[in-house]
């Protein structure tokens, strides 16, 4: 296994292990973002750059923001200023920052054109994925849209009951 791949894989596994062992939920969210970044680097090395892009945009961007919003809305106990002071201490963001910096260093190492040490895989581009997605698998796109609609309606319904009950 290539050293870069080994590094990204270890970042992923270490991040996942840290996620399930944290006490505070916000720390776990930070480690989970670092895990997603490491996994996105792995997907690039597997030739799936489109998948890696979606992993970063949707997983590390959108879904993690959902988690952060919910943790902020739950507002478990502490007063705001104390909690913010707690979040800004270095021991909270140092571990995820180091993991993300490793991934960033790999990225910088790979975009330097002199370093030709990364063996090239034949990539599967977004063009291939789009042709396959809207060709053979167009029925699954419809099913996924049904699933998204069902999730939207369910989340709206559950949230609306909460407002009425209070």
């Amino acid at each position: 296994m290539h050293a870069l791949a080994l590094l990204a894989a270890s970042v992923t596994v270490i991040g996942a292990t840290m996620v399930i062992t944290r006490k505070v939920a916000v720390h776990a969210v930070l480690y989970l973002v670092a895990t997603m970044l490491g996994l996105a680097a792995l997907l690039v090395m597997l030739g799936g750059s489109f998948a890696a892009m979606l992993e970063i945009i949707i997983y590390a961007g959108a879904i993690m923001v959902l988690f952060v919003f919910v943790i902020m809305m739950l507002n478990l106990g502490q007063p705001d200023s104390a909690r913010e002071k707690e979040w800004l201490r270095p021991h909270v963001w140092l571990g995820p920052g180091v993991l993300a910096a490793i991934i960033c260093a790999e990225l910088l190492y790979c975009i330097v054109p002199l370093s030709d040490s990364v063996p090239s895989v034949v990539p599967i581009t977004a063009h291939d994925v789009g042709l396959s997605l809207f060709g053979r698998y167009v029925l699954m796109v419809e099913l996924a849209s049904f699933l998204l609609l069902a999730g939207l309606v369910a989340a709206f319904h559950i949230g609306r009951n909460r407002v009425e009950d209070r």
Partner: protein, 103 residues
Amino acid sequence: MPVFSFNDTLLLATVLFSVGLAGVLVRRNMIFMLMSLDIMLNAAALVFVGAGARWHDAAGQVMFLLILALAAVETAVGLAIILCLHARGRPTLDADTGNLLQG
């Protein structure tokens, strides 16, 4: 010689899935259980992309897209349930306290 052989992909996905499964089994906080579910879904998606790279087929990344949609829906509904339970005045997020199906 590719960077990542298919065996390595399978090994890494197995480790990642085991970590997520251990998180679901060990942690009782519902937010942590949702995060562990996301880790497990990521492991499954990694297997799909790795298999797509192994046989050079775009279907692996199509499956990745569908898993992404599934993860988004699962997270949204799960977090809505957590917010609903918290708004009912439940003091903790312990998953084992909600086993009676009563409001």
